[in-house]
């Protein structure tokens, strides 16, 4: 349920689903997102230009030349949310090489968590993570929740460049850097798998909100010879 609807500036609506981050709240956000996407496709609402679901918020951007806050707010309040909406969630397996040349932050993590690299990986690999959202850069998935024993803050000073393919962890979340980008997450490996294919115009993002993701380990040789 949406707890509160307010305006974000003059051309967006801010739907607040709560303060906590958990799968139940996020699933609500995603349900609203899917319903609204359908309504937009069926052209039953005019002027919406973007929907941005996140952990516990949904932002609806619109064209102020076509509609306005009070119009869209009314539509959202009267929206019929169907529980049985198609379950599009899928399982995705992601290969990761955790050799030290890819896992840049094991030393820092070991010190902060008082765990060995092997212990960290045991708690991280082969677990099912939920995709809360994608974004920041194209296709980057925000996954969770990590085992309580491997939760760690961001780097004090973010890297100017994190290599494409890097997999990172911070707090209760895991992610994948789909492109080279600045970033402050603890990097523990790299995947050779393409997570975002821009030439795949109709479906560029491999991982979508609501999907389940499992990381499995591969050797450096498998990494270098990866072929899709």
């Amino acid at each position: 349920m949406i707890k509160n609807i307010s305006n974000l500036g003059d051309a967006a609506i801010y739907c607040d689903f709560g303060k906590e981050v958990n799968e139940a709240i996020n699933s609500e956000v995603i349900k609203y997102y899917h319903c609204l996407s359908d309504v937009i496709k069926e052209r039953k609402i005019e002027g919406i230009t973007n929907l941005t679901p996140s952990y516990n918020k949904l932002i609806i951007s619109f064209d102020l030349g076509i509609t306005n806050f009070s119009n869209i707010k009314k539509k959202i309040e009267n929206l019929k949310i169907e529980d049985s909406k198609k379950q599009t969630s899928k399982k995705v397996k992601i290969p990761v090489c955790c050799d030290d040349k890819y896992g840049l932050d094991f030393k820092r993590l070991s010190e902060k968590l008082s765990l060995s690299k092997e212990e960290i990986l045991k708690l991280y690999l082969y677990k099912e993570y939920f995709c809360y959202m994608t974004g920041f850069i194209a296709g980057m998935p925000f996954l969770g929740d990590l085992d309580k024993n491997i939760r760690c803050d961001r780097l004090e000073t973010p890297r100017v460049k994190v290599p494409e393919g890097s997999v990172g962890i911070t707090e209760q979340f895991a992610n994948i850097y789909t492109f080279e980008s600045p970033g402050g997450w603890n990097i523990i490996g790299s995947t050779p798998k393409k997570i975002f294919k821009k030439n795949n115009i109709n479906d560029p993002a491999l991982i979508k909100p609501g999907d389940k993701v499992i990381f499995y380990e591969i050797t450096n040789e498998e990494y270098l010879n990866w072929n899709e």
Partner: protein, 317 residues
């Protein structure tokens, strides 16, 4: 028949093609992009009888030096721009913004600078011959999405022109003066109450300097430190153009057309839609003053902005 194109002899600082940008892709992390100054983008198109969403070439600070090959074009430049047309006899003719010109084969267009602003726009009648990506001609250089492999133009590249057959040229000219006020209207953000009373007051009273860390993604400001009394991080959530976010260091950042789609810094305010063109044109070194307005004020300001844009668009007919 050989293709008509503009050869890039000097690329300028950040020369890209832009239009209205992309929609319905925030949820996968692809931002809107599009012209930083939409009104000037539209006016450039209107001056050469294009539809207003046709691609234009956007340049920043120093623009490109372009040489036309294999045809004739009808072009216009908008913004606050100094440019020369170098005719075949090597005579240089000073160009004026907001009117159309004919450029013949082997003549050159030298876009020198955007004076006291940042962005300018070049349109050609019929448009450029480009491929759309996700329904837009906009080049997003951070994600490498759009025509030209998503990269800004560099020396030696060719920018193809769609149509140069028998131009029917109508002289067009408008009297337009770019607004230069540094007063930017803002609606309070969803985290306004995260900041101390003193900082809330200072935000609307003091000047903020635009630093050199300013590009199509955003504009970093410096001024009175905005003290966060709650938390300098929020759970990451969606962002839009115009959001003013404040990281832990207390210096505000205004998000512009190529901004990241989600982020975790508190939002102190959002620039009203009517002022987005104007804020993007304020150059580093200038100061910004923020003024608080209500949602209703902002909606009315946008109506005025649109009707003024339309007034000038109609004046080109």
């Amino acid at each position: 028949m050989s293709e008509v194109y503009l050869e890039v002899l000097r690329p300028g600082i950040n020369t890209t093609t832009q239009d209205y940008g992309r929609e319905h892709l925030y949820h996968i992390g692809i931002t809107i992009s599009g012209a930083m100054d939409l009104r000037n983008h539209k006016l450039a198109n209107a001056l050469v009888s294009n539809k207003t969403d046709e691609a234009t070439i956007e340049f920043a600070y120093q623009g490109p030096l372009l040489k036309l090959k294999n045809g004739t074009i009808n072009f216009a430049i908008t913004g606050d721009v100094t440019f020369n047309i170098i005719r075949k006899n090597s005579k240089s003719e000073e160009g004026k913004c907001y009117q159309n010109y004919i450029l013949e084969s082997d003549e050159q267009l030298d876009i020198l600078s955007t004076k006291k602003s940042v962005y300018g726009y070049l349109s050609v009648s019929g448009g450029f011959k480009l491929e759309k990506f996700w329904n837009s001609y906009s080049i997003n250089t951070k994600a490498n999405i759009g025509p030209n492999n998503g990269k800004k133009y560099s020396t030696g590249e060719k920018i193809l022109v769609k149509n140069s057959e028998k131009l029917k040229i109508k002289e067009k000219k408008i009297n337009y003066v770019n607004p230069s006020s540094n007063l930017i209207r803002v609606i309070k953000g969803t985290n306004f109450d995260y900041f101390s009373n003193d900082s809330q007051n200072k935000f609307f009273q003091e000047d903020y300097l635009i630093t050199n860390l300013t590009d199509r993604m955003g504009m970093r400001l410096k001024g009175s430190i905005l003290k966060n009394t709650k938390s300098s991080n929020i759970k990451s959530e969606g962002l839009i153009r115009g959001v003013i976010q404040v990281p832990a260091d207390g210096n505000p950042i205004i998000l512009l057309s190529d901004h990241g789609t989600i982020g975790g810094y508190p939002k102190i305010g959002i620039v009203v839609s009517a002022d987005l063109d104007r804020v993007a044109q304020l150059s580093p070194g200038r100061k910004i003053k923020f003024k608080e307005v209500t949602l209703t004020d902002a909606e009315n300001l946008f109506k005025d902005y649109l009707s003024e844009t339309n007034k000038y668009l109609n004046a080109t007919n």
